[in-house]
């Protein structure tokens, strides 16, 4: 396969909060503006725009892509919006990558925005309509259930304990204390997680990321532009994405096959043969505590059933051998759905440039992976980046 080399050259984001006064468009504009300023580029230098935003039901406004196009700098430019549930954020850089890698455009501004707070009494209600309208909706499922259902299966198959998995929340919320945009950075203990309100056993409140408003943007450029714009381009060396079956009750949920399929594609493109040795830093999708572990296994960064050991051994701490979610993840920074996924890409960008401030992992990491997940537990989106 022949394609052009593509780099991330800039990134920006808003603070993540529970209720933002700003409109979705204003959030998108803030992030896009900061991303362009970070690489001293102007909107006139942007050839195309890739927008990610989750269900229109959050906003109660259809054609969200159209609403976000101008705030994202897309006036009279080729604009594309995608939505694959929680996988959207990483899908958006993949779309942008295609724009530039294909040779169609030299630059692309990727903007992901989410404003969940407009939906009442709780945005969770908007998720009812992702389930099959005839065979599942009458049971009145909530998104929490499918996570709890998956977590229970994951724990059952591997013999993981809740008190082990809770360490993910402890780690990520602590990491988030060092993130200037974080909504929920905190020093907590395993006991705090176990004693927090039961939402849907095995999921307690502190196992769950918050609902959030926020936006993130990155700037992509073809090699000849990237080298002019910055001394420190971060190369998008591999991308992969896949969709598993929507018949989610038919798949054994203990293992995310779709993440493995997407990761294999991304690793192959990046020439990675031994992911756990060649990848130095990872931002797997962590909307729930167990999800970080589930995805580490799917990303083949540890053996199946080996993620808890890695966590207990401190490997995934910011100063461990494979720092995982050094940003603070969705559990700590927040979870404005699509923006949260792109936040992970931005974190890898900053980490590989040595610009992550207090969050900087030691040892000059050279290669990172960001991954997101979504829809009916069926989407895997993976991107491999190198400096």
């Amino acid at each position: 396969m022949s394609h052009r080399r593509v780099a991330v050259v800039g990134a920006g984001m808003t603070k993540f909060v529970r209720f933002a006064k700003e409109t979705p468009g204003e959030l998108a504009y803030q992030a896009g503006k900061m991303a362009l300023e970070s690489c001293e580029m102007d909107i006139s230098q942007i050839d195309s725009v890739s927008i990610g935003s989750a269900p229109d039901a959050f906003d109660g406004f259809h054609m969200k892509g159209e609403m976000l196009a101008e705030p994202s700098g897309g006036w009279r430019k080729p604009v594309m919006r995608n939505y694959v549930g929680g996988g959207t954020g990483v899908m958006s850089i993949i779309h942008g990558w295609q724009h530039v890698a294909s040779g169609l455009f030299d630059t692309c501004l990727v903007v992901c925005e989410e404003k969940m707070s407009s939906a009442f009494p709780h945005p969770a209600g908007a998720f009812l309509t992702i389930f099959d309208h005839t065979t599942e909706q009458p049971i009145k499922p909530t998104l929490l259930w499918i996570f709890a259902i998956e977590m229970n299966r994951f724990m059952h198959v591997h013999g993981y304990k809740k008190e082990e998995i809770a360490l993910v929340a402890v780690k990520n919320k602590k990491n988030a204390l060092d993130h200037p945009a974080a909504q929920l950075g905190a020093e907590i203990t395993v006991k705090d997680v176990l004693n927090s309100e039961i939402m849907a056993w095995p999921v307690n409140r502190l196992d769950v990321s918050p609902t959030s408003d926020g936006a993130v943007a990155i700037v992509l450029a073809a090699e000849h532009i990237a080298r002019r714009v910055t001394e420190k381009p971060v190369w998008v060396d591999g991308v992969g994405w896949t969709l598993d079956s929507a018949y989610w009750c038919t798949r054994d949920l203990y293992y995310p096959d779709y993440v493995e399929v997407a990761a294999r594609k991304a690793y192959e493109m990046a020439g990675i043969k031994e992911p756990s040795k060649e990848i130095h830093i990872a931002e797997p999708y962590d909307p729930f505590t167990y999800k970080e572990l589930h995805h580490l296994e799917g990303l083949m960064l540890c053996p199946r059933g080996g993620s808890v050991k890695m966590l207990l051994d401190g490997v995934t701490q910011r100063n461990g051998n494979l720092p995982v979610c050094p940003s603070g993840g969705l559990l700590g920074v927040g979870n404005p759905i699509s923006a949260a996924g792109l936040m992970k890409v931005a974190e890898i960008f900053w980490q590989l440039r040595g610009e992550a401030g207090k969050r900087q992992v030691p040892g000059n990491p050279k290669c990172g992976v960001a991954q997101a997940w979504g829809d009916l537990m069926q989407v895997g989106t993976v991107v491999v980046m190198r400096n």
Partner: protein
């Protein structure tokens, strides 16, 4: 040629958002415009789920088989998503199965809290692998008539149906599954 190295600072980030409280929004301390949609839909269910619903009304579960991969699939479907070819014969399966995984939920679909302390039984939804369908073929349904703490993965369960006259051709014609 510009070489940039502008790092994101706390000050830059703080300026991006005005953080409100729930009271600001609900109590109209900031001006909000509100809309409560009352949309209605009538969903046609096609030949596969249409037959599934008709059989539920009869107190039966029906699946469909793909002769290529030999899977007996529930809910039934007109095409096999793996082989991407039309499915073949209809196959009745049992109204019993095995708990593949489950939840003890203290919240409803809107994240509203159930009054557990007031004695409300938590919702206990589960993926139930249906006997007679291919291994691992599950459906989402509720479990009841058991202490939620005693539900186990691997537990055998059977469907409890609405009375025939009360059935309407819906997945809720099965009230729940209970241990057998």
């Amino acid at each position: 040629m510009t070489i940039s190295n502008k790092q994101m600072t706390k000050e830059m980030i703080e300026k991006t958002v005005t953080s409100l409280s729930r009271e600001d929004v609900i109590g109209n301390k900031v001006i909000t415009s509100k809309w409560e949609p009352k949309l209605q839909y009538a969903w046609d269910n096609g030949p596969a789920i249409g037959r599934y619903l008709a059989e539920l009304k009869n107190g039966k579960l029906i699946a469909k088989k793909c002769r290529k991969c030999n899977r007996i699939m529930i809910p039934p479907r007109m095409f096999c998503e793996l082989c991407w070819r039309p499915t073949d014969e209809w196959v009745y399966v049992k109204d019993s199965g095995t708990v593949n995984t489950f939840v003890i939920s203290h919240v409803d679909w809107k994240a509203g809290r159930l009054d557990i302390k007031g004695g409300v039984r938590p919702f206990t939804p589960a993926v139930i692998e249906i006997d007679g369908a291919s291994e691992g073929m599950g459906i989402l349904h509720m479990i009841d008539e058991i202490d939620p703490q005693k539900i186990k993965i691997g537990m055998k369960v059977k469907a409890i149906w609405k009375k025939p006259a009360e059935r309407e051709g819906a997945i809720t014609d099965i009230l729940y599954f209970k241990p057998r």
